[in-house]
Symmetry: C2
Subunit: 197 residues, 2 copies
DNA sequence: AATTATTTTAAACAAACGTTTAAAACAATA
DNA sequence: TATTGTTTTAAACGTTTGTTTAAAATAATT
């Protein structure tokens, strides 16, 4: 692995664990076993390093999800697949949701938000299909925006309070994972129930 | 207003707006028009000031919500009231959810989490009643834990991505508030639908 | 083998941070 | 009015922060 990649990998781990502000470039350098100056040699600044990492994350995970939403599958199938895939991604990367939220709140300017939610909140195709199904009378007359937010909330929010859920319900890592697998069905059933006539 | 209260009020505004790390005690002192040393005179440290503010917030908002959950109302009524009250609270304080999440992630030790979720995730009474209704055959056999997480997710998560929702759907503050008022009914209907036999 | 380009290093930079000091200003008490 | 207690002030403290410098080490090129 190149020095550049080792920096990125180490930095990501620390950013996920402790957040941007509480991770110093000395923390990163120490853990990656590199000189501090190399951080500014490869990336111009800490902020730049972060953005590079974050872009990489979006590029890694969004194509699959947006692929599902943009496909030509029937809407029920899309919902089912989307829920399953999204939860699988978050099970592999449980801190991802809070990570994205922290970016959103640290960087409230519109351009940044645009980029993020154009990837992560890509409702365009889905909403059109949803509205069309409503028009055809195939599903109940539900607001597509409300529906998409429901889906997003049910999938992602539990991961932001993972530790709370675990402690409150006496779970370990394994039982939490099991709980989330069950949750795929819970969420899908719930969502389909609200649109089924 | 006393100096102590002016510090707390100003600090809360800044903590909500920029977060703990990005708010310096000099920012607070400047905005509250007080000397920096007064901060350590009234509160021993920045961390202590924060905890004092956070405790105050929990004491302010949790009694109402836990009062609903702990009441002797029928479960459908509880759900309805809880959703309405919680959304009203968050409409008054839209950054509260992310604020709580940031505390959870900054302070991952168990004792802190206990205190927070004993207030904010007080499922004890509710889960018992829920399980009892299932046993009696009054509602569908749904996992109380999953149900409570559904409710919490649907209510709180949208506020953590408020800016994204607004920009994506061309909303202003008023239309967002309207959207959230509609959402009370959306969420209640959805939750009742999943348990109604 | 000599030269150029790239990568890594140790050391220092200025700025910002939370915190503390000790004296001054003010209020309350006797 | 003199004295005690409380509140506020200006200034400085030692650390830590992200960043930069300039030289050394290594790799690539001719």
């Amino acid at each position: 692995m190149t020095t550049e990649d080792r920096i990125k990998k180490t930095a990501l781990t620390l950013f996920l664990e402790k957040g941007f502000e509480r991770t110093s470039i000395r923390d990163i350098a120490l853990k990656a076993k590199i000189n501090i100056a190399l951080l500014n040699y490869y990336f111009r600044s800490k902020e730049n390093l972060f953005n590079s990492i974050f872009s990489g994350l979006l590029e890694k995970y969004t194509p699959t999800l947006n692929g599902i939403l943009g496909s030509s599958l029937p809407i029920e199938e899309k919902i089912h697949l989307y829920v399953e895939e999204y939860i699988d991604i978050l099970l592999e990367n449980p801190k991802l949701t809070y990570f994205v939220l922290s970016v959103l709140h640290r960087n409230p300017d519109k351009i940044t938000q645009m980029k993020i939610f154009q990837s992560l909140y890509n409702t365009g195709d889905f909403s059109k299909q949803f509205a069309e199904e409503v028009r055809k009378g195939n599903i109940k007359d539900v607001d597509p925006t409300q529906f998409f937010i429901n889906m997003l909330s049910l999938i992602t929010f539990p991961f932001t309070i993972k530790q709370v859920i675990m402690e409150k319900n006496h779970m370990n890592e394994d039982t939490f994972e099991q709980f989330m697998h069950q949750r795929k069905q819970v969420i899908t059933d719930m969502l389909l129930l609200t649109i089924k006539k």
